[in-house]
């Protein structure tokens, strides 16, 4: 009997499983469900409404999202006759997988025993994987054979061109400061509250706005703006497929938040990973997840405040304001490294 328990604990502790399934899928899903509730409640609070309420009045409508999830799960999935079936079905699934996959390259501890991959080039790997998933949103829009979907996909393409370089460059500012692509070393450089958000706030700001642009959060919810292009590339999807599409954007934002936490918010500090599974792996991951959840809450707070930029306004902001700021942030990082502040 005890042998079974030990075996199960061994399997859970196995880094690829723990990091991909527990930290990569289950925990972000739980955070995303909480964040969706938080987003609706915050928007309602700021806009003088009440928000979800009648499903469970005692816990402020907390079960509303669960009810929505069940509804999406049991809705009929309609696949129109005019779509390209293979691409139509596979594109959102690949986009979902690719938006979760970067978590393999994010370290949740500095004990090499728990790394799922060698961490030498983890920042580059995480950024490369993160920027793959929007391609499949374009594929989904194209496969839908619907004018709204194609327009939504094209808007996504425009936005990729404008935000990708900003997001990547502002994350690479950390590399300019430390001279390494290793995320563990980048976290180690932030000991003693020398978090990179303090040392290089400009890079954090541009990365923050880049993440908002890339995950179509307000005020850049352009690719699936409801009033103009119904649901963008996801217009033809229904039921669980639509839920996957919408969830993929939030999961991607969650993974981006984890990356932001590791690169700019000091990773697992102020906690130092110790010995054993609990202090060496579980506790640092919880610290990182708490920081990332706070970031997600700030992201979703913008929904309550902002309207939506037009496509040309967003691209203008990206190229005329954010791109120069990113370059300045990169230079600031280089200067700090040159004068040895890091």
């Amino acid at each position: 009997m005890t042998g079974w328990v030990e075996a199960i604990i061994k399997i859970i502790e196995w880094p690829p499983l723990w990091q991909l399934v527990v930290l990569g899928l289950i925990a972000p899903l739980a955070v995303v469900i909480y964040i969706l509730w938080f987003e609706r409640k915050t928007a309602a609070r700021v806009q003088r409404r009440i928000g979800p309420y009648h499903v469970s009045p005692r816990i402020a409508g907390g079960l509303q999202l669960l009810a929505d999830l069940i509804r999406y799960s049991f809705q009929e999935v309609i696949i129109p006759k005019t779509v390209d079936k293979a691409a139509f079905i596979s594109a959102p699934l690949i986009a979902l997988i690719l938006s979760i996959l970067p978590v393999v390259a994010i370290p949740f501890t500095d004990v090499p025993k728990w790394f799922p991959l060698p961490m030498d080039y983890s920042l580059i790997l995480a950024l490369a994987l993160v920027t793959l998933s929007p391609l499949f949103i374009i594929v989904a829009g194209w496969a839908s054979n619907n004018k709204f979907a194609i327009i939504g996909g094209m808007r996504e393409a425009y936005l990729i061109v404008s935000y990708e370089i900003i997001a990547i460059l502002s994350f690479l500012a950390a590399t300019a400061m430390t001279g390494t692509y290793n995320l563990v070393d980048i976290v180690h450089a932030q000991t003693g509250w020398k978090w990179f958000i303090v040392l290089n706030p400009l890079a954090f700001f541009t990365a923050f706005v880049g993440v908002l642009l890339s995950t179509s959060g307000f005020p850049f919810e352009i690719a699936e703006s409801e009033h103009e292009v119904v649901a963008g590339a996801f217009t033809e999807y229904s039921g669980l497929m639509y839920g996957i599409n919408m969830g993929a954007a939030y999961l991607k934002r969650m993974i981006y938040s984890l990356l932001l936490t590791v690169v700019f918010l000091g990773g697992w500090y102020p906690l130092k990973p110790g010995e054993g599974f609990i202090w060496g792996y579980l506790a640092p991951s919880i610290v990182i997840f708490i920081k990332a959840t706070i970031l997600m809450m700030i992201f979703s707070f913008f929904r309550a405040v902002y309207g939506r930029y037009r496509l040309d306004q967003a691209i203008e902001i990206a190229w005329k304001i954010l791109f120069p700021l990113t370059v300045i942030a990169f230079g600031l990082g280089l200067l700090e490294a040159y004068y040895g502040i890091i």
């Binding site: 915050t42 700021v46 003088r48 009440i50 309420y53 913008f302 309550a304 405040v305 304001i321």
Partner: protein
């Protein structure tokens, strides 16, 4: 002559004023987040208590009616109809036919013309209009039900509130008494 197209020139804002605008917007959002001024009416639990003179459901006072048919004639939606009822003349004691109005709430638009035009004030409004009928036939009154004030079930289950415009806070919801005046 058609109006000439005029080229509107919007002065482009500088980077700093844009940043300032964004920060102000976020500051207002944060302020409302920590001090929400909700004004939602939780309907079945609360209801808006309307004032006297509101054009709600219409009630007939049969004794005052002189059967002039003005209400039926002025009704723009043709909701009001006259029905013939045999009555006994109180002076002569003879049987005769008299006309009385009945109303069809499927058609009524609550304009209140019938109440205004009535020369003897035989019709009056009650200050509520949220009543649910289960069928179309139920919404057509006969002479008996037209003389009674319809039952206001929302008032039995919910609490009466009223919205006022406050100079500082904006739209404010206040609790009022069920009968009569306001309660601050």
């Amino acid at each position: 002559m058609p109006p000439r197209p005029v080229e509107k020139h919007v002065h482009p804002r500088g980077i700093f004023s844009r940043f300032k605008g964004n920060l102000e917007a976020i500051a207002i959002g944060v302020k409302y987040f920590f001090d929400p001024k909700r004004s939602t009416l939780i309907y079945p639990k609360e209801y808006i208590k309307l004032r006297e003179g509101y054009r709600g459901f219409i009630v007939l006072v049969k004794n005052k009616c002189i059967s002039c048919s003005s209400c039926a004639r002025i009704c723009p939606a043709a909701a009001m109809k006259m029905v013939k009822v045999p009555v006994t003349d109180p002076k002569t004691g003879k049987q005769r036919i008299k006309k009385f109005p009945v109303i069809n709430y499927n058609r009524c638009i609550f304009c209140g013309y019938c109440v205004d035009v009535c020369p003897t004030e035989a019709l009056y409004h009650v200050p509520y209009h949220d009543i649910v009928y289960e069928s179309m036939e139920e919404a057509v009154t006969d002479l008996e039900s037209f003389q009674k004030e319809p039952e206001y079930k929302t008032a039995k289950e919910g609490l009466p509130v009223r919205y006022i415009v406050d100079e500082v806070k904006g739209l404010v919801k206040i609790r009022v008494k069920k009968e009569g005046g306001e309660k601050k």
